[in-house]
Point group: C2
Chain length 477, copies 2
């Protein structure tokens, strides 16, 4: 800290300390996640009283610039993104749909291009890979399975895996019968089945805005319509907006990620989630809970799944191992609530059953305790990566850039200065062997065109930092 | 052969030889697949001329009782089933659907009940398991894959596997670009995607009658309607019936298994299949070709897939490894013809991608040549099992039972005397730890209630023979 206090300026001393910290944040010499000097340390250095520094820090905390961590001191926070409440919108007409489809295909192609910096891939488990532990589990299974290794498992899943999943839910304060769990081909199939349990072509489905494009594509491919409910990056879903949307429209079902959303990384409190379930069940509207990021929380403990608050069985919880351990195993699950019979029919009709060997290896992986250990490490690495990514973006992206402060998961939502187009940036970045996800994908309307989603679920390195610097240089100030 | 010729009876000598063979067939002393005595041998034994025996054999061949194999002699054929042309029918109303659903669930439960004789499971690869070779391939992949072992593959599949599949099609006289192949979660997902490429809720889909219940369930779960086209166990689809059905109804698509059908095991000649494709493409009606049994032919060579005759890209070919190698791997594929863009969208929306490790191991398995070797052995074992099963059923089931003579695959279609109900027999058999598949499942109407499907895709043993004997004792004469 090199700036000194101007005693003769007439400005309050604590105000000067505040301005000083803000200037250091702007210049990048203090970056998100950095620890601020202690009260005593700064008071000595600047030759001001400890109460003056404390008053400055309290003001900075009030402004949301820094935050206190018990017994650790004060830390610079990321610039919090407040997404302006977007307007509700109907899904795009046919030509628009096609346009976005080819963009989604471009994004997926870039994911698999070798040598690319994969900011466009939401595979957070890559930040702390389970590959070795899972390969060991798979080898153990192969050596025991014999002819069973190629046999077909039950439609609704391999029982030992269902049991392990039910056991884990106890820690979330939820009593789940293993027979209630249906194993699916990843979380995407879980949502596809859930949607087809509760809605049909032509129905209106409420979604978060912005929301994961896979959900939008599914809704459209089933001939349903998406109704966007604004999401706040800090508190999650706006209940007031939801209520008024439900009053105005005939909504057949909701698909929400109230634990950790994608792309915003917002999270509702348990209390608000309980109110959400109460509101929907009072109106007999099914809630499809996309909980794939639920276990990647950064807080002290996992939020309780929406299903824990369900009284009528109208909550269908979808999750998977794709974000926490093994995207390529394509194993997810669905707790279908009161729609179990229909879910069984849909699973049989759509894909018969899920790969047995993969389920078996994952159940071994869970039973051995390795899954839980890996998850703990993964959460810790992701949280560190998040800070690094935010710091790096703050440094290299132009002023006017706003970054979300995710409560979990592996992605950041970045609002670029309005003159930018996320899709153009996506194409420019490809030229530098960098993949990103354009904001246009996360809504059927055009309101997030100046946004991008960046993944920090990556094995972090200097190359990644360089990638952010390059990306920042492509953004128009 | 103990019966002698009655020279004084006045009946033609060759007629007497014919009656004798038929009586031996009835009593079970001659069983399906048994070789008949040579012309010279029988002529000596019965003291009649060689031309008399030859005339008798020609008459028996004309009646379809025996067949000549070049350079091998004459063999007793199975009693051929001619399924009476069933009426076209609309799908059942809701209550009927539910009834069949729970029956399908019972059938699947019985499949996984330990210790059961699995006549109800159509897993023909169990007759010659690939488990060891595939486990070796999987271990090789695990030792090389590293972090890639848990990563997500491309939406449309792992390229080396797509290339292997394209290579195999060359042997069927078909030029396929690897990029045309889409990998799916088993054949069922391939059909689910194909159907959603070409039809929507409310559309009419033509199916074979009888047909695989998984296709019927899929059609109904998507809100479509099934139109049954009669199938003949010898020649396959009745083209005349198909034509008149197309004249009467607005058919959006067809789902046919013209290579090897399930449950009949019928097969169309390449010539008739070409005519079928011509007929449908002339009317711009897409043909979904369910070819999962196509590689399990018993003839000299594989029939050419319908797709080989397509000129307009309206044929969507579905197949999988589930019948030939590894049902539990859940890997199938789709050649979507001109519907590739829509198929990609549906795959992404329904399940994102298929398990990478499983695709990788299968591509190794194919590249090493082991898949082809295993297939050759499997076909040979299945053909022997078929003869054993037919012989055993002929012996232990009451008169009036008719058995199909499958041209490939792993199942027999058995018409019981009319007083029997296949579903009742299914429940009775469960009490004896035997699973079968009731005929009622293979049609939305009630016309196959007195039929059952029995699998011979089993590791054959004395226990299996005993199972057929037990089953026969439960059938009402």
């Amino acid at each position: 800290m090199s700036i000194s206090i101007q005693r003769e300026s007439g400005e309050y001393l604590y105000h000067q300390v505040v301005s000083m910290v803000l200037e250091m944040q702007r210049s990048g010499s203090l970056r998100a996640g950095d620890k601020l000097p202690s009260l005593r340390g700064l008071s000595t250095k600047l030759d001001v009283s400890v109460p003056t520094v404390r008053q400055a820090y309290i003001e900075l905390e009030r402004q949301g610039v820094i935050s206190a961590r018990p017994k650790s001191g004060y830390f610079l926070k990321a610039k919090i993104l407040e997404v302006a409440a977007p307007k509700k919108a109907r899904p795009p007409c046919k030509p628009k749909l096609v346009e976005r489809q080819s963009l989604i295909e471009d994004v997926f192609d870039a994911i698999h291009a070798p040598g690319f910096i994969p900011f466009g891939v939401a595979n957070p488990s890559a930040a702390y890979s389970s590959d070795k532990a899972l390969a060991r589990a798979m080898r153990r299974v192969l050596s025991r399975a014999g002819a069973k290794a190629v046999e077909c498992g039950p439609i609704d899943g391999f029982f030992p895996l269902k049991r392990q999943l039910a056991l884990r839910y106890i820690d979330c304060g939820m009593q789940v019968d293993p027979e209630e769990v249906m194993i699916t081909n990843g979380g995407q199939e879980a949502i596809a089945i859930a949607l087809q349990c509760v809605a049909k072509a032509g129905d209106v489905i409420a979604v978060e805005s912005p929301t994961y494009f896979g959900v939008l594509e599914l809704i459209e491919s089933l001939g349903m319509m998406a109704l966007e409910i604004p999401l706040c990056s800090e508190r999650g879903l706006s209940m007031k907006d939801l209520q008024s949307a439900l009053d105005k429209h005939c909504v057949s079902a909701c698909v929400f990620s109230s634990s950790i959303s994608n792309p915003l990384g917002s999270s509702m409190s348990d209390q608000r989630r309980e109110a959400l379930v109460g509101l929907l069940e009072a109106r007999n509207i099914p809630l499809i809970e996309d909980d794939v990021y639920g276990d990647l929380y950064f807080g002290k403990q996992r939020g309780r799944p929406a299903k824990a608050f369900s009284r009528k069985g109208l909550v269908l919880t979808c999750s998977s191992f794709s974000k926490t351990a093994a995207p390529g195993y394509r194993i997810g699950w669905l707790l279908p609530g009161k729609y179990q019979a229909r879910a069984n029919l849909m699973k049989r009709a759509l894909s018969c059953s899920s790969p047995l060997l993969n389920q078996w290896a994952l159940s071994e992986f869970m039973a051995s305790g390795e899954y839980e250990r890996n998850l703990r490490m993964l959460r810790s690495v992701l949280q560190k990566n998040k800070q690094k990514a935010i710091a790096s973006i703050s440094q290299w992206f132009p002023d006017g850039t706003r970054i979300s402060d995710p409560k979990g998961g592996g992605v950041l939502w970045v609002e670029l200065p309005r003159s930018n187009d996320g899709t153009e940036l996506f194409h420019k970045a490809l030229g530098h062997n960098i993949s990103i996800t354009p904001g246009a994908l996360f809504s059927p309307s055009d309101k997030f065109k100046h946004c991008i989603r960046l993944s920090y679920g990556i094995d972090w390195s200097g190359k990644i930092e360089d990638g952010i610097k390059t990306l920042g240089s492509l953004v128009v100030p």
